[in-house]
């Protein structure tokens, strides 16, 4: 056990989209076809805005996680998701660029299983133990489900990130175990849009109830910690009472079983073990034993012990903060449109060719993906974009600018409009001029806003979002947008 003492979690963060789709609205719309859906109609599920996907949520979760951390120290990024927007383009590379990480890091995508994140976390901890850390493990998921399917109601969109390494860990790794079994509760074949799922009772009896206990038994064999010592058991499972049953059978206290967030968020797929881990760490006290499990063609289990440094972690949004940053959505039709589940009339203004010049994107990647502007060495003026000639009319120096990151700088609205003419998947389209603290400004798209949250002078926070999707070529173009600022620190309140 001694070799585990100095490796563990240095920081964690989460991201849940602001929109929460009322399950009642979904069930009522589809009851004509499947009345049984009404049984799943309680609570709400998190729902991506039209400009969010697994990559944008991963970036936000990573930003939350990295508050107060030295990004320059990172040695690797792992990104777990089964809903990566690119099948062949390193999605973790987009995340790394958006976070302005150094280029001399390793990055990889982990996919094809609901336990991709827990497997990635075990690997990341091993890397860190071998001196290859800190490693950023981020998981994000935006699952696609057929209209009127149970999955549509069970799933939610979300992301979480964990920074692992050695040093002042907030939770040290005590043990881990993995089992791999080709148990196919559901699958999604190449080129298919949707999952194909087998019977729930079989998944419960032959899957969860046999595979998870075996993994937990392996884990407890390798540690002195007893199941009765577990304070937090974080295991995603949409089937009722399964996690509680497994905990009881293993000898864990009933109170240790963490809520799967079904009522408030839904299951965020491959991200959910880390979302639940973040939720557990937000509740944990120093010394608490935290057990997280991920299920999918086998099972991963990881046991952590919270340390005294947990209380010293800088305030962040986390799961709790993002749950509080909420807007109810009762319009099921909007959910269908945002997820391209219905052929909506977008109008001729949406017809414009959205081809992206990849060479230009590459040249300008620091600006477009990293949101890096410039600061003039001669007059100090901050400006975006960075340019060859300083924009200050009293300076106009040539070749005088150093890189300056703007993504984390608070901004305020100078002017804005709600535009009903321009094409937007969610009209009216809000955009305007925002001024950054300490200087610099940008005319930019807004997101996650409505009449109540936008005004001249309103505080804004920059968020990494989808700028355009090119349906002819399948290319997603990302950029930054201004969103009404929410209060960080909610997770620790």
């Amino acid at each position: 056990m001694a070799e585990y003492n100095d490796v563990g979690i240095l920081a964690f963060g989460a991201y849940l989209p602001r929109l929460r789709l009322s399950r009642k609205a979904v069930a009522e719309a589809n009851a004509w076809f499947n009345p049984a859906l009404k049984g799943l109609a309680k609570g709400e599920r998190s729902m991506c805005n039209w400009d969010e996907d697994a990559v944008t949520m991963a970036v936000e979760a990573a930003r939350d996680c990295l508050i107060g951390q030295d990004r320059g120290a990172l040695k690797a990024v792992s990104f777990a998701s089964t809903t990566l927007p690119f099948e062949d383009r390193l999605n973790a590379g987009i995340v790394a660029e958006a976070l302005n990480l150094k280029p001399d890091i390793a990055a990889q995508d982990l996919t094809a299983s609901q336990r991709a994140a827990t497997s990635g976390l075990i690997a990341a901890l091993q890397m860190a133990r071998g001196g290859g850390g800190p490693v950023l493990m981020v998981a994000s998921e935006k699952r696609r489900a057929k209209t009127a399917s149970p999955l549509e109601l069970q799933a939610g969109d979300g992301a979480a990130a964990v920074l692992v390494g050695t040093g002042p860990v907030v939770a040290r790794l005590l043990a881990s175990a993995s089992r791999t079994v080709d148990f196919v509760d559901h699958y999604r074949g190449e080129g298919f849009e949707f999952d194909y799922t087998w019977e729930e009772r079989w998944i419960r009896d032959e899957g969860y109830n046999k595979i998870v206990p075996a993994a937990l038994a392996d884990l407890f064999k390798s540690t002195d910690v007893k199941p009765g010592d577990i304070a937090h058991f974080a295991m995603p499972c949409v089937l009722p009472r399964v996690a509680a049953g497994i905990a009881k059978k293993a000898g864990m206290p009933d109170a240790a079983v963490r809520d799967n967030l079904h009522t408030v968020c839904g299951e965020t797929g491959a991200a959910h073990p880390l979302v639940m881990l973040a939720d557990a760490l937000e509740r944990a006290k120093p010394g608490d034993k935290v057990l997280v499990a991920g299920f999918g063609q086998g099972c991963d289990a990881l046991l952590f012990e919270a340390t005294a440094d947990l209380a010293k972690l800088a305030p962040r949004m986390g799961v709790k903060g993002h749950l509080a940053r909420r807007k109810e959505e009762t319009n099921y039709s909007k959910f269908l449109a945002f997820n391209d589940l219905v052929a909506i009339e977008r109008g001729m203004r949406a017809d414009v060719d959205k081809q992206t010049a990849l060479s230009s994107l590459y040249r300008n990647r620091r600006m477009l993906t990293g949101f890096i502007g410039g600061q003039c060495r001669k007059c100090g003026t901050l400006q975006f974009p960075k340019s060859k000639v300083c924009v200050n009319p009293n300076c106009n120096a040539f070749h005088s600018q150093d890189d300056h990151p703007f993504a984390d700088t608070p901004a305020k609205v100078q002017s804005y409009t709600a535009d009903r003419l321009t094409y937007s998947p969610d009209p009216p389209h809000y955009y305007g001029m925002v001024n950054f603290e300490q200087g610099g400004r940008v005319m930019i798209d807004f997101t996650d806003c409505d009449r109540e949250t936008v005004d001249v002078g309103a505080p804004m926070r920059m968020m990494f979002r989808i700028k355009e999707y090119d349906p002819q070529r399948g290319f997603t173009r990302y950029y930054w947008k201004a969103a009404p600022a929410s209060q960080p620190g909610a997770a620790k309140a």
Partner: protein, 401 residues
């Protein structure tokens, strides 16, 4: 210090097509329509024209690039034809090209023609346009009304005006322009509207409703210019001359430097000051008699009244509501109906404004003729967005005055 353009160039003839939804006409039909009026007015033959400038902005919707479309439409005799594009100020840019050619002595007689055929897009409003590979990756997904609408929020914030007062002044501007357009057979929209029509209209980009926005239409306008001496030799009396032609182009300061507050056009303030100096105007509020401004949106016209130094800063709402800019006011603004009623065939608009001043100076404006013949008329043509734009100003007056 440059001596400027004042009294160096005379307007020999002008023409303007009917503006509107010209479903049965191609762009070259509109060019011919404007040109035939201008050349008859000028009293010359086509082969006396030494050089020509063509203004088009959204050329991909109609004639395509280059000067060739004008040369072909009019069968010009292999003379130099230059196509210019400078956003919505393109029309005045063609005029500037022709005027400078005459002033330099490189041409005795020059033609400027602007045309735009916008109604072949399949939808209302200005066509979506390409912005360039990099711009499209970071500019907001903005429309023209959405970008100009932002003037309102910034203007209100700066001057502490209530939204209702601003909206009422904006509505008055549109009602006034429709009253004027009602007397102009060449306008696209000739109907009168009421304050209620404007205030209750569907929202386009807050706070701009449908009637705060100018129309989109097809049209062409044309000018033939020469030296005052040649004009006189051709029998012209009471020669109408160019007093000033100025252009100011944003250099990114408004967009990227925090010194601009979003409530005004930096370019208009610079270009108008230069134009007054060039024309010898010291007090624009007292000396100007008629103005045609770029009223793409009601709020644009409102803030432009201050940027032209006619209304005091923060005082445009009062002047507008007092009727200062009405047809029977001290300085009528858009006496022809403006972009509001003519619509905005981009390449043609700047020259359409000059055409109206030219008619009014000669007392040829028919039912909408200002009672006293104007001494100085000003046109203001704006392109782009409030935070990044081009602004051209012309001052037209009597030669030798």
């Amino acid at each position: 210090m440059a001596s400027g353009i004042r009294d160096k160039v005379a307007i020999l003839g002008m023409g303007c097509s009917k503006f509107g939804e010209r479903w049965d006409k191609e762009a070259d039909d509109l060019m011919v329509e404007a040109f035939e009026e201008a050349i008859a007015d000028a009293g010359i033959e086509k082969n006396q024209i030494d050089a020509a400038w063509l203004a088009t902005a959204i050329e991909e919707q109609h004639v395509g690039k280059s000067g060739v479309p004008l040369a072909v439409a009019l069968r010009l005799p292999y003379i130099p034809v230059t196509r210019v594009e400078n956003y919505c100020a393109s029309g005045t840019e063609a005029f500037r090209g022709a005027v400078y050619a005459v002033a330099s002595g490189a041409a005795d007689i020059a033609l400027a023609l602007g045309v735009e055929k916008l109604k072949d897009t399949g939808y209302g409003g200005l066509p979506q346009r390409g912005r360039g590979a990099l711009n499209s990756m970071y500019w907001p997904n903005l429309s023209a009304p959405g970008s100009f609408a932002q003037l309102a929020a910034a203007y209100r914030a700066k001057h502490g005006k209530a939204p209702e007062d601003l909206k009422r002044a904006m509505a008055h501007i549109s009602v006034k322009s429709h009253d004027n357009g009602n007397k102009n057979a060449k306008a696209h929209l000739t109907n009168k509207i009421t304050m209620e029509n404007v205030l209750d209209a569907p929202m386009i980009a807050e706070p701009l409703g449908l009637y705060d926005c100018c129309g989109v239409s097809d049209g062409s306008a044309c000018a033939i210019v020469t030296t005052p001496e040649i004009a006189r030799s051709l029998g012209k009396q009471d020669i109408i001359a160019v007093k000033a032609l100025q252009l100011a182009v944003s250099n990114g300061t408004e967009a990227s430097h925090n010194s601009w507050d979003g409530s005004y056009f930096a370019t208009t303030r610079i270009a108008s000051k230069r134009a007054y100096k060039e024309a010898g105007i010291e007090n624009p509020r007292e000396e100007l008699d008629l103005i045609e401004v770029h009223d793409c949106f009601s709020v644009t016209e409102l803030v432009t009244m201050e940027d032209l130094y006619v209304s005091p800063e923060g005082g445009a709402i009062k002047d507008v509501l007092d009727g200062f800019y009405d047809a029977d006011g001290k300085i009528p603004c858009q006496i022809d109906g403006g972009l509001k009623c003519f619509g905005h065939p981009i390449g043609a608009s700047g020259m359409r404004m000059i055409y109206e001043i030219y008619l009014q100076m000669q007392g040829k404006a028919g039912p909408r003729q200002r009672k006293e013949l104007p001494r100085y008329g000003l046109t203001h043509n704006l392109g782009g967005f409030p935070h990044q734009n081009v602004c051209s100003i012309s001052v037209i007056g009597k030669y030798g005055d």
